[in-house]
């Protein structure tokens, strides 16, 4: 074997392993918390904000940077909305969760 590993192969490795982790972790989520699970995964999928920020990165503004900035704002709705609404729901379970 020789040569450099293609980035695609590295990505695929990470991708497959992450799916395995997701699969095992999510099956352990209690059914009572499936709605908070969906809300928090909504926030986590707001990770697209990282891609959006990179799109808005270049110094000179063009179509791409503007698209990136719009995407940053959209993803930020998810990040803030998702985590906060999850927090709100979970605190309802906590009050008398003892």
């Amino acid at each position: 074997m020789s040569g450099v590993v293609d980035p695609f192969v590295m990505n695929l490795t990470v991708f497959v392993l992450a799916i395995f982790i997701g699969y095992h972790v999510v099956w352990n989520v209690t059914p009572a918390l499936h709605t908070p699970l969906m809300a928090v995964t909504n926030a986590v999928s707001g990770i697209i904000i990282v891609g959006a920020m990179l799109a808005a990165k270049p110094e000179e503004m063009d179509v791409g940077t503007i698209l990136g900035l719009v995407a940053v704002a959209l993803a930020a709705v998810n990040v803030f909305g998702g985590f906060l609404v999850t927090q709100r729901m979970l605190s309802m379970f906590k009050k008398k969760g003892k």
């Binding site: 059914p31 009572a32 709605t35 969906m38 990770i47 808005a56 990165k57 270049p58 719009v70 979970l90």
Partner: protein
Amino acid sequence: MSANFVYLAYLVAAVLFILTLKGLSSPMTSRRGNMFGMIGMAIAVLTTLSLTHNVGLIVLAIMVGGTVGSVVARRVEMTQMPEMVAAMHSLVGLAAVLVAMAAFNNPVAYGIALPGEMLHSSNRIELFIGTFVGAITFTGSIIAFLKLSARLSGKPLRFAGQHWLNLGLGISMLGFGIAFFLSPSWTPFLIMTAIALLLGVLLIMPIGGADMPVVISMLNSYSGWAAAGIGFTLNNNMLIIAGSLVGSSGAILSYIMCRAMNRAFLNVILGGFGGGEAAAASDDGVQKTYRSGSADDAAFLMGNADSVIIVPGYGLAVARAQHAIKEMSNALTSKGVKVRYAIHPVAGRMPGHMNVLLAEAEVPYEQVVEMDEINNEFADTDVVLVIGANDVVNPAAKNDKSSPIYGMPILEVHKARTVLVVKRSMATGYAGLDNDLFYMDKTMMVFGDAKKVVEDVIKALA
């Protein structure tokens, strides 16, 4: 900042996201888990921010979006959670499409092409996948949002040749994808994006209201895959890991929902059910008789029971009776009655929805029992109060092989000694089926608005 440092920070964030999901295995650890998620996201965002030049504008964009998100999160009613979640899926989808367009516009800025070079061929495939999954998520979620918020009829929209049309569109989208692969230019890219946007609408329109828990889980999954797809394009592990976690979470929820409704996933996706086709299947023309009673009768029966199980359905939430039902169970508990709640996995409009609604009404967590755990106990229960639920307690799912819902797991309330059913009328539920439970000798129907009936019961108990 060095690339190595950036990737190590992403690794920390990824681990925190995994801990977030792990925390949800119990209500005790869930809040800490959510906190981990916020920290993880903050690390990912701050690290990425350090790589950019337009810090001011980006922070401004985050503040704009963040404010909207925070306000919505604070104001949204728990009954509206499904709509909010659907709306948020659509934002991720749209953001993925925009990022893909930006990446195609200037691949050099992303470090996925050298100056003067074209986008690499493998990146083109990934870009195509990320874009069309994002586009379908975007418009599909909008339709789901409109259906869930009743701005659009929950009835499935079907027409002849629908599946062929979708297939044709899918193939032409793939065709333009190949054209894009062979010679990357805006024309095929935009055409395939437009087709994907249209497909998102067409795929969700034919799915009925009763199947919404599956649809919303599926779109949850798609939004994750879209993020992962973009991660492949940008060679960004952070996006790939977080996207895959979300993608597999949504896929598992879809599976759980399908199982709870005894429906094949493909069957749900291809549409149907939940909209009246199956209606009147069991109407044999014989006038069946049922027994009805008043709220006072119900109060008497429950007040003198040793154990009561309450089966709440979405009708309870629609009538905003969660708080009243909590008060009623308090009144019963103080009379020495053992009260519990039985939850069917599809009670509500999204997975786990009923649990949240009851938690909001401050129903103690330990009184709320999932279907598998409580089904053995109905036989030893004096009174079951079914309120705003119908199909999930229909014994036909167990006994009648010809029933469209045969095989669907149900709450076996018909085994209890007495069954009280609070309903507005004898109308059928989502599946459009008559329910033999209502005509059993041990069943008493209490007609009226759920909240009104429960309030009357509380008065009678006092």
